[in-house]
Symmetry: C2
Subunit: 134 residues, 2 copies
C-alpha cells in the first residue's frame, strides 16, 4: 500500500535556528519559511535528493505541535509521511484491520495541497504516520 517516503517532519521551537543548522552546518537545500495558519504551523521544506525534511514551528494558538514541543523542548522528529495512491482505499483497509485513524477519518488537505490522514502512533510502532495521496 505505502509508496515513497514523502517527508520526515521535525518539530522545532525556533525555525530560523533550525533552518540555519540544516543550511549552514549540514549544507542542505533549505527553502523559505511558509506560514500555514490553517495547519497551525510555519514550515520550511528541505529538499534532499530523494525526499524532503519538513521543519515545523508552532503558529498561533492550539498548534498541533505545541504539546510535542512541551515534552521535547529541543525539538524532535514529529512524524513520517508515506505516499499512497488512494487515501480512501488505504483508510478503509487499515480500519478493517483495526488500525486507528485520527480525527473523524475524513482526509484533510495537507501542507502540500493533497489529501492527508494521520494514523494512531499506538498502532504504528509508536510513530505518528501521515498518509498523503499523491
Amino acid at each position: 500500500m505505502i509508496g515513497r517516503l514523502n517527508h520526515v517532519a521535525i518539530a522545532v521551537k525556533d525555525l530560523a535556528k533550525a533552518s540555519a543548522v540544516y543550511k549552514n552546518a549540514l549544507g542542505a537545500n533549505v527553502g523559505p519559511a511558509l506560514a500555514q495558519p490553517e495547519h497551525g504551523v510555519t514550515v520550511v521544506f528541505i529538499e534532499l535528493p530523494n525526499t524532503k525534511i519538513e521543519l515545523l514551528e508552532p503558529l498561533g494558538e492550539g498548534s498541533p505541535i505545541a504539546k510535542f514541543l512541551e515534552k521535547s523542548p529541543d525539538g524532535g522528529i514529529h512524524h513520517v509521511c508515506y505516499e499512497v495512491d488512494d487515501i480512501i482505499a488505504a483508510r478503509d483497509q487499515l480500519k478493517s484491520q483495526g488500525a486507528r485513524v485520527l480525527g473523524d477519518g475524513t482526509p484533510k488537505i495537507g501542507a502540500h495541497g493533497k489529501p492527508v490522514l494521520f494514523l494512531h502512533p499506538k498502532d504504528f510502532c509508536g510513530t505518528l504516520v501521515e498518509l498523503e495521496q499523491v
Copy 2:
C-alpha cells in the same frame, strides 16, 4: 554536505509485531530479521521506493536503544541517517562549527558495512542524526 536520506530508524520492543504492521497493515516490502550483535540490535529493513525504514529491536546487554525504549515503550523514531561523500571531511567541518560528534569522533562500520558517525541531538533540532559515507 548531506545527500540522500539513507534511512529512518524506528526502535521497537517487538520486531516481529512491528514487521507485521509494516508488511500486513501498510503493505510494504519487509525483509527478514538480521541480528547485528556488534551493534546491539536486530534489524529489519523495509524497502520503500526512495529510501529505507529500519526497524530496530534491542539485542543483548547494553543495547544502544534500550534506554530509548524505556522512555518510549511503544517504540518511536530513533534517528535519521543522511548520506555524505566523505565522512571525515563532514566530521571536521561540523566540529569546526562547534557541532558535537558522539563518541570519540572515529567513524565506525555501521549496519550497512559503511563508515558512520552520530551527531549530538542537541545540536541538530533534538534529532539524533547518523551520517553514513556511501
